[in-house]
Symmetry: none
Subunit: 239 residues, 4 copies
DNA sequence: GATGAATGAGGATTCATTCAT
DNA sequence: AATGAATGAATCCTCATTCAT
């Protein structure tokens, strides 16, 4: 920009930024974070730009310095959240020597962990549902960017299991979606219960979910005689 | 509930109501219906009382004749929706001679049918999620009135199956909730996909869901040599 | 509207309006008048709806009850002003026995009268000039509705004079426009001089204007010895 | 005037200015020019300092370095424009041997030329009319600096004609103003017609204007018998 | 009971102006 | 001298709510 010609302030030889420049980089981040929190707390319509600004410790005007308007701000917030929560390749490589059963368990653990720990991954759902009508693109965008990758990865694990003869999938119709569903239910319960009093204890919930998955897809081995088998590896992974 | 004020006093066996009285009874119903539709379409904040009024073919003032304010109107709308979608006793009596497998299937069919056909049953979810923060009571109210009964009924079916020796349930922790989850996922997908292009075909989806449930809970499949393999432990857990 | 069904208030048999209805008719007029005055005083951009409202003794909201937004209000104001200031047929019939000289004088008198007495007829010019860029349609609309009729009428008078042999017009090019110009100059001076101190005295100004017109178009003056001096050439040009 | 601060200190006979000093001189000029163009395009209120700055290739801050605030900037712009468009003495000396008829024609040609070619001379009018109320001094200032000199010069030509016995002025009341009026009308039409489609062809318009003037003021000579006299000199001057 | 005109608090957005760099 | 990030007053417009008819 024009600034480069004039080189305002010290000619920075090192890679340090002046306080102005540093702030200019941080501001939009701070605003996005503040906006996220406000949107989460109140929803799109009820969120006031002024509150976003206050939370980011700036004033109204500053928000408009970085974002055209409220809608654009919202889109940016959601866009940032829609990023895939974990990298497929990395996941598979990292755990390439695990059994398929263990992969399923790891997948679930990672998924619930994200949902629980990472507020972002969870609250985006609320946006999509609450303001989906107002921003029709959001839904499909998020689906492509966030949900689809999850599904695909789970599918890969299933297929791996099938190839290795440990899983048996009787249909390809929506099977991943159905098997993952309890995680969604849990997420939704999380924001339905204002106080988390009635919320299921996560550990136990995952156990049951995992068991459901395994019972659904594990190949029935004729020579099974160890009734405690299910317990074993589950406990090995999850303590 | 609040509905009692408004509820048309169902059983008017004798003399019909005069036109005045009839209107007095119908007006609030019409307004509630209109409000429901508007709230569904736009969410709480974005819904304007005037639009509700117009949709109900009355004027703003009239709305305030029957409801204190916008918030009360909303509460009434949600309250009305939260009523259980199907009656447990009736369901069980009606199908008392069915096998447990069939009961599960019937339960699922009924559930999906309600969600698909009955906009109310589906959209209430959106309310809860979208405006849950604004109305903290909603979540738990709805849970008690709407979700819990569903859960309980499914539980009864499971228990019946266990008693009859066809189902085997290894845990009591959230099992109903987890087994029903795919229905919730479907509902959410319904309002996330603006156009219903990508929506799974319902029949197939239910089939997979049903299969998942049965594989999870059905006692040792016939083609397995050891049909009793899991019994002991399941009974130990489930009392 | 809905009101008719219910007939609010007394069933008015005579042609009296209730206080509400009466106000409803008067309000838009009052708002338009107030808007006109504010726009005149400050121009489009600097005029605040709230001030318009205050001047009309209502509140902001009421203005928006009758006009979509500021721009529409402005358009209405201008539209109302653009109406022709006097009726051509009526003017000609009313004065059919006057001499052409008298008609010219009457035309000028009427024109200046409107400009002087009727603030509207004068101030519209300011709008067109000041905010013409913002509302491109205004200019041509006003020209068609307001200026063109004036011009046409003046033309008719000239032609009448030519037919009767008292006027002689050597060209058709913009002659009306040029002969009327001093009125425009006067109008503009009127709003350029904040205090009307330096303003020409109207009567004298019109006299000079009239004389200018007559000297330009009157056929050979009587005190000239050669009354036919210009005839040939004028007829050649004007057909 | 205010211009003195900014005016480049006209007579720099000796040593050239260094780049710094040169910029110090050029900046305000560039800003004034940019401001002029923006004010012309949008009017006072709708013009944003930032746009002025951008057009002058500087930043907002720089504008405030040279001008206290928006209003002062505007005053400077108008002040600069109000300078007389042509020098009376120069004009008269330059054309001292022309006939009075020719002087009138020359005067008109110069006037229209300025209005047409020189955007400044024309647009100042728009300022005065559009924002006259906001800046009451503007009107009279401009009148004194711009209009009055024009009028006076035209008066001088008339008086010269009278002295030489070719013009006959029957009154002193506003005669110059009235005779010059068509030029104003033309100017106004220029900015009323967004596209210059309907605009009169300038050459022809001036011809008619000139003819009007001459018919109004030329002394009726008894011995006139040459009906083509008017054509002659008009064509001589204007081809 | 019903109406709908009127209200005015509230929120999005703009932009002149300041000032640290 | 120049920059441009930050400010916040100002203004348009909306809409829940009231109340005279």
């Amino acid at each position: 920009m024009a600034g480069s010609k004039i080189a305002p302030g010290p000619i920075v030889t090192k890679n340090e930024l002046g306080p102005r420049a540093r702030r200019k980089v941080q501001r939009p981040q701070a605003i996005l974070q503040a906006a996220f929190e406000e949107f989460v707390e109140r929803g799109y319509t009820a969120t006031r730009i002024e509150d976003v600004a206050a939370r980011a410790s700036v004033t109204k005007g500053t928000v408009y310095l970085y974002f055209q308007n409220k809608e654009e701000l919202f889109q940016h917030v959601v866009g940032k959240l829609s990023q895939p929560i974990f990298d497929e390749k990395q996941f598979l490589e990292q755990h390439q020597y695990r059994s398929c059963d263990e992969l399923v368990r790891l997948f679930l653990d990672t998924l619930y962990d994200h949902m629980t720990v990472n507020q972002h991954s969870r609250e985006i759902l609320r946006f999509l549902i609450a303001d989906g009508r107002r921003f029709p693109t959001l839904g499909s965008t998020h689906f492509d960017q966030f949900v689809q990758p999850l599904m695909t990865m789970f599918d890969r694990i299933l297929q791996k299991g099938v190839r290795e003869g440990v899983f048996e999938i009787w249909t390809n119709d929506h099977i991943s979606q159905i098997l993952i569903s309890p995680a969604l239910t849990y997420a939704i319960e999380m924001f339905l219960s204002a106080d988390n009093t009635k919320l299921p204890e996560l550990k136990i919930y995952i156990n049951t979910h995992y068991e459901m998955v395994m019972r659904t897809i594990r190949k029935a081995r004729l020579d099974m005689s160890d009734t405690t088998r299910l317990r074993g590896y589950s406990e090995a992974l999850y303590c």
